[in-house]
Symmetry: C2
Subunit: 618 residues, 2 copies
């Protein structure tokens, strides 16, 4: 493909509104353009990367018997009324009316549509299992779309749905998908972890998330690509290195999820679901009497701790939540943070939100800062984190503004359900007892769920079993954020190219080192001087030669300055660069392998075998 | 692919709501399902046909340097306000608001989006020409969606847009597209005509439509596929043939357009644009005086003609239109029909509609049935068809209810602009003088336009030319109805399979003979008895053999009655059927080539070469 035919609007500067590097680079390198907030056009380069990713998916899904189809995006609200989601989905759902004033939505996912299609066609267990998927634009009216393709209002998703007679069959397909996802993300050149995820929002029972790990901003070995003229990091002057570190630190760490993983085992979970090892301490403590003490101006645990001179592990924090409209009290030790997802899942609540000051006043008779579990009405549920069991003679709010109680003891002074509701912290022991928890930021690129009968039951999708008895179909669902993959791959493969000028000045510039499988083209073929007929002829010969050997080639045939061609090339980030320069008359070109930085002059006759050797080494 | 893994919900009966055969068959054969009025899910078979069609398009577009991208479907109304179409597009435009109450639309086409993207990136003539396309869901809130995929509210479209410095460059790309479209539709196995189209609605100057021709309902050679047991049509008893003819006639002729084409030349045009040869007659006639005559109860030309005893060619019909709100009178000879599109294009009007009785009364002082061109206010434009020039001493309405004028002559009694505004009729001479016009019904599958500066001028998409002067970009646009292709191909390849039972009874059943290039699979491999281990093993061997040789194979591994497997197979319509039946133990299978009806028994070792020979003969 001739670059003069392509729309690749590269920019000289980083776009000022971008906070994460993938967003900045995908705009600057001319992959995408925003059309309106959170709504993007995928320009030709992005389209090619997505096509390559789609091809990988189609190959891997064919292996597990998944069949592609395509449902509409514009859906009658009646479908969503059947499942109940029309009323519960909230403001993220795009709603519209057609010319007859009937209600429609733009599909954010397609559980209802696929359930309906299968319900209307499948009547017998003999027709199951079925495993259907589609690759399609999806719509969510995000409150705050941001970070390029990471959170958008229109996005491309692969969504798959499987239909089974029993859970054993679902387990097989779920495991097929887990392996297929691992194969897909591995082939796509992504650094990812399969982690325990939260399926609560989808009504699921079992789920796994696939997270692309965001590189650590301080890992210079990861980020920097040194020019041949620079032997190692040590060569770079301290003040230049400091600037580089600042440049790296200036970019927001992308990925809205934190992955907690074991330093020594395969354990990995979304922070929302992560647990750490806990064993109740067996300690005999004599219970002190309850005593009310004035704690003026003490609003936080830290305030109380220092005012009363007690250790943090002897203080209990009391929170109030509204779970599906009912007040629920949560207790945690000291400054432990509550994990909403764990609490919500334990309560099996559809909605959980922190209570308002007014609601707190009603339940406790006091304001925030002095809440406590002692003396509450009997019908108020109290959920305490497991660690509260180890907290004796504790300090709690007195339910009177400006006062706390000391000597509070569970069992005697209040009753609670003990559950793991705290957010784990880095360094705590892994729940499987192997190693300690480490944290990383991740971008959710895939998610597989066991849905069970959530949709089939409400929508009446039943089959007759071997004995002629009707039963709801068992379902699974499987998503991949296709447009988000583009963000993830650029986030992981963005690099700072550091070079030294002949004068000895150090320069650095951002670019992309696309992995081979997702690069829009394999080779960037650059003619330095398009007005040189010999160079032009050699370029055409090499383009034909490379394409004949199966390489996808982008030929920069533009009449532009060579500096601008090379900087565009660094931005676009194809794996191999072939430059037709001064030695064109001798048939000699320069080959550069982007990932290794290898650069070599080679005669046109030896180009193909050289490329084969150089790329095999990767 | 194992058929047990596929969702192919075939039906025993034709769906009762289908009026055209393609709609009926695509539902009955399990290709599609309607989700809501005019909104369809493409089930796995339809998805595969569309994927194959997309692959053909991508190959042909790569040859002309067209580059694929993907714009969003959810568009900010601001873009459409820039072009002015937000206010003028009418009720077909889906409009919605996002959570901030900003106006959005669902894109029915993407002129604005692409114009904006190119405007914001391209500043110099050196960056042109550009030729971009996408394949994507489009939205039109059709008043009356109907006929399966022929008129839907969500549909898949390939839309391309080209950008040029001058019209010469546009002409080159337009011609490239014309050839690419011909190559695509030819490869897709479609019977089509490239015709002169109306580009008025798109603001275009030059346009060509590609119409898939609907087969004539009376052409038995086209529709019937006779079983080996029936030598020719003559063998079929008259009463059976009569039933077959009625079955064919019962299906509505699909295609909303009429194509007028020359019996002897390449001339072909949409009826909306078709002209016939016309030369003004040179005839000296003495002008009679105007005379008002009572014509009680005469409302139509036929009434007047028989009441007054004058030939039809001596009567003039007077019509009133409102063109962009202004009254315009149209005159035609006798019962000639006005062609709104020709009239609208001549007037360069944005909107043209027939006037109401009230508007007619205001302009003529009379009601419909007595309107005439004599004595109208001077500022009323009168557009007469060219043939009115040959109408002397004519009868026209007297502008007084119940009266006509005789002896009316243009020039003396009224003044008109003479233009071709009549609808041509079958049998009239072709405008190029070669042959006569014939009519056929067609389905619009493609359309190419020269847009000019319609969008670039209103949206400020300018470039600097060689001399640094700013000029609007010249544009072309190019559409293909991808989902509609599925309707067109089934419309043309639906067949009635006629067979004779051993008892001598004649039966006929609908099915599809998919052309090779668009068939979802190449081969339907059917195991008659899946409980026979030898048959099962042979089936697997043959599936592997065929797939290894590059055939796409659908293997019917279902435990169903053989009759139901064969009738499903006839409906689905794959080009080749391989049946593993009674002779499985000998390694012998039956091969049937659907288009020729050839059926042959062959040993598994000779299967591949037999298929090669049999399909080469096609």
């Amino acid at each position: 493909m001739k670059q003069s035919n392509m729309l690749i609007p590269t920019l000289r500067e980083m776009p000022s509104d971008a906070q994460v590097i993938s967003h900045a680079l995908m705009v600057r390198a001319g992959y995408v353009r925003q059309v309106s907030a959170g709504i993007y056009a995928y320009l030709p380069l992005a389209n090619r990367t997505m096509q390559k990713f789609k091809a990988i998916m189609r190959e891997e899904f064919a292996k597990i018997g998944a069949v592609e189809m395509e449902a509409p995006a514009l859906l009658t609200a009646d479908l969503w009324r059947e499942s109940g989601r029309y009323d519960t989905y909230g403001a993220d759902l795009y709603r519209l009316k057609n010319r007859d004033q009937s209600d429609f939505i733009l599909g954010p996912t397609h559980e209802e549509t696929l359930t309906m299609l299968v319900r209307d066609s499948v009547k017998s267990y003999k027709q199951l299992p079925l495993n259907l998927y589609q690759i399609q634009a999806k719509y969510r009216d995000e409150k705050r779309p941001r970070n390029g393709l990471l959170r958008t209002r229109e996005f491309i998703m692969k969504d798959g749905y499987s239909f089974h007679q029993d859970y054993e069959s679902l387990d097989v397909t779920y495991e097929d998908y887990r392996k297929a996802y691992e194969a897909i993300f591995t082939r796509a050149g992504l650094d990812f972890k399969a982690i325990i995820g939260d399926g609560g929002a989808m009504g699921g029972k079992d789920s796994q998330e696939f997270m692309a790990i965001t590189p650590d901003r301080t890992d210079l070995d990861h980020w920097l690509v040194l020019d041949k003229s620079i032997a190692s990091l040590e060569d770079i002057p301290a003040e230049v290195l400091e600037n580089i570190k600042q440049e790296l630190a200036a970019w927001m760490v992308s990925g809205e999820d934190t992955v907690a993983y074991s330093s020594e085992s395969a354990y990995a979970a979304n922070l929302e679901m992560a647990t750490s090892a806990y064993q109740q301490k067996t300690k005999v403590v004599s219970q002190e009497p309850l005593e009310k003490v004035a704690t003026p101006d003490c609003q936080t645990i830290d305030d109380v701790k220092s005012f009363l001179g007690v250790p943090e592990e002897q203080t209990i924090k009391t929170l109030l939540f509204m779970a599906d409209g009912q007040p629920v009290v949560a207790l945690l030790v000291g400054n432990d943070q509550v994990n909403d997802v764990k609490l919500k899942n334990y309560l099996a609540a559809d909605f959980l939100e922190p209570a308002s000051p007014e609601q707190a006043l009603e339940v406790f008779g006091a304001n925030f800062g002095s809440l406590g579990p002692v003396g509450l009405a009997e019908d108020i549920r109290i959920i305490a984190d497991r660690k509260v069991q180890d907290c004796h003679n504790a300090v709690v709010g007195a339910n009177q503004d400006g006062y706390h109680l000391t000597g509070a003891n569970a069992g005697r002074d209040f009753t609670a359900e003990y559950v793991d509701i705290r957010e784990v912290r880095e360094g705590e022991p892994s729940p499987d007892g192997k190693g300690v928890l480490k944290f990383a930021r991740g971008i959710e690129i895939g998610h597989i769920f066991k849905l069970g009968t959530r949709y089939s039951a409400s929508m009446g999708a039943n089959i007759l079993d071997e004995n002629g008895r009707s039963q709801p179909i068992i379902m699974g669902c499987y998503g991949i954020g296709v447009s988000r993959i583009l963000s993830a791959v650029i986030e992981q493969h963005a690099r700072l190219f550091v070079s030294k000028t002949p004068k000895g000045d150090y320069k650095y510039a951002w670019g992309i080192n696309f992995p081979k499988e997702l690069a829009p083209y394999d080779v960037h073929l650059i003619t330095v001087n398009v007005k040189d007929d010999q160079a032009q002829a050699l370029t055409q010969t090499i383009e034909d030669q490379l394409q004949g050997a199966g390489y996808d080639v982008l030929t920069d045939d533009r009449n532009e300055r060579v500096g601008s061609k090379f900087s565009d090339s660094d931005l676009i980030g194809l794996p191999i660069r072939v430059t037709v320069g001064k030695k064109a008359s001798e048939g000699i070109v320069e080959v550069k392998i982007k990932t290794t930085g290898d650069s070599i002059e080679v005669h046109q006759d030896n180009l193909l075998e050289t490329l084969e050797i150089l790329t095999k080494e990767n």
